[in-house]
Symmetry: C2
Subunit: 360 residues, 2 copies
């Protein structure tokens, strides 16, 4: 299998590349889980083997992100799309509001869901410039928290670090969680769909400060109540066992590779490689403003539109998968999540150089 | 693998037994999906191979349940637990209400969620008799729909068929969907967590009458709006690809085995086998009233409490898994979903007979 997965360089934006060893172990567990005589997906979620999986997954999140004890960790369902609603409901008091930094399509969607259930307002937006940069976060407002989208997959922009603001942050980290260490105390809540740096689609991670939850005065629907899920150890209802198991395997891999500090270095090296070539090569232009460039998703376009399909063909011939840009901005997008090796980025930059020789 | 899975007789209540061929194919797809060079869980959900999976899964639901064109099929997340809220929101008008038949723990939970967002009332309940039977559904009320739980896994009770009532039914069929043909036109909406007869935990099936949806006057949150999901062909956000793929495989298996009519016959044979032995054997008592007995989950107790742990030991020695009853009623529960062979039920009844000889 390793041969197969490595002949393709998977730059997909998500679902996306996972470590080959994780795919191997996840596949084996679907046949039989750790010598239990039953598949991972046919044992009870209340059985000892699966309860151990859930606890290891939650513990690995705690240890790899260095979470203090007052932070809770949950693996739920519904993706970040349901998270837009859940976070708004759990962190906006009935008489309060939340600020939103609108830095892309997903941030807009988060604000839209929040508006349906309470007071929420955009405090900044880069929409007028095609979301090509991360705008400054304004100072004091009366809101109880500020919501950000730390990495914007479509536009290839990312906050350079943990923002310094005068209120707790609620952050959608779907596409850059576990890519670097974080200053957790700045966050009231972090949520992230699994299907980038953590595992397969089908589970969403919530990390939240227990001291800041449950203060809204709202009577929440059960599935949207983070504290209820925490009371049940993330097993309020049947959890998505495969997605959680595979996320646990990816977190084990992360730990074994050296953790988020090592990932930060690797991701910086991959980003330097691709952005260096984008800036050097006269046939391509970067999309995101230089100070806002994402380490996870590099967006770029052909200097001449006519070259776009030809470059996609060249990538395809080299085994490069998922490089086509999102339809809203066109061009190309190289998603370089934790499991993507530098060698795949080098294959891409080699294709860009060769393309310059043949089409420049 | 077949050897391994068949040395254990898996009577788990869910997650539960799936066909060995489905486990084999799901395991292979986690390595590589149909010669695409990438794993099922690392390709884009917008790629042709996965869009084809989603469409085949939805089409199989339509064909195997013989759905008319005005019924929509969706694979979402959040389990039936989020479905309690979603169905109440999509089928209770702002100025209307929904009736609930309270036949067990899950039905009570459905009513609880519905009460949080609108008018909902219990019209019948068997709680006073320990939920040991399915009570009659009363006649006319002013409600716009009636909610039922077709099979009650914990208590081992089940509606004998599709109820005849004077209004559309909203049904939680989590534990008996695809176990028999249904008269679909009686239902405004059917929902079912996958982890019994359909696949692994992590996706929930919605089937609903498009003519009856979208009439509530509510401004629904996006993830809870069934019509929005339908507009996006069940891909409003990243779907749980593994759970949907494996459900598709199970539905292919179902079709190949002869469909829901064949399952109905097999399930009747398994039920006859276990209930025959429960009624014959003086060491055991059935829990559910005879007219309400479930074909999916047979609940029974030892005539003498002291025998309970001894019988569990005897089952364990015979490779019988998951037979311990739910803590709320104790005793034993034999869950006999579609993929459980009659031979496993015969192993169980042989153990019961032997137990009578040694402990009678």
């Amino acid at each position: 299998m390793s041969t197969t997965t490595h002949t393709i360089h998977n730059f997909s934006a998500g679902p996306c590349i996972l470590p080959p060893s994780v795919l191997e172990q996840a596949s084996a567990a679907v046949r039989e889980l750790d010598g239990n005589g039953l598949s991972l997906i046919e044992i009870s979620h209340r059985s000892k083997p699966f309860v151990a999986v859930m606890e290891e997954a939650r513990d690995l999140v705690r240890s790899e992100l260095n979470l203090p004890d007052h932070y809770e960790v949950l693996f739920l369902q519904g993706g970040a799309s349901l998270g837009f609603l859940t976070t708004a409901m759990n962190f906006t008091p009935t008489d309060g509001s939340m600020d939103y930094a609108v830095t892309g399509t997903w941030a807009k969607k988060a604000l839209k869901e929040a508006r349906k259930m309470g007071a929420a307002q955009a405090i900044t937006s880069s929409e007028d410039s095609g979301f090509n940069h991360i705008p400054e976060l304004p100072g004091t407002s009366s809101a109880s928290a500020v919501h950000i989208t730390t990495n914007n997959t479509i536009y290839g922009t990312q906050y350079a670090g943990d923002p310094v603001v005068d209120k707790p942050i609620v952050a959608d980290m779907s596409s850059d969680i576990f890519s670097r260490p974080i200053d957790i105390e700045r966050y009231a809540c972090i949520y992230a769909g699994a299907q980038k740096n953590m595992g397969p689609a089908g589970t969403v991670l919530y990390i939240y400060d227990k001291r800041q939850a449950g203060k809204t005065g709202r009577d929440l629907p059960s599935y949207l109540d983070l504290e209820l899920h925490a009371d049940k150890d993330s097993m309020f209802n049947t959890p998505p066992v495969f997605a959680i198991y595979t996320s646990m395997l990816t977190l084990r891999w992360l730990k074994g590779e050296g953790g988020v500090r090592e990932m930060q270095q690797r991701n910086a090296a991959k980003a330097a490689c691709i952005y260096g070539e984008i800036d050097r090569n006269p046939l391509f232009n970067g999309y995101a403003a230089s100070g806002s460039r994402s380490v996870m998703n590099a967006t770029f376009t052909a200097a001449d539109d006519a070259l776009t399909p030809l470059f996609l063909d060249a990538c395809n011939a080299a085994g490069i998968n998922g490089i086509k840009g999102h339809r809203s901005i066109g061009g190309f997008r190289a998603s370089m999540y934790n499991a993507l090796p530098l060698s795949s980025v080098e294959v891409l930059t080699d294709v860009m150089k060769e393309f310059e020789r043949t089409h420049g």
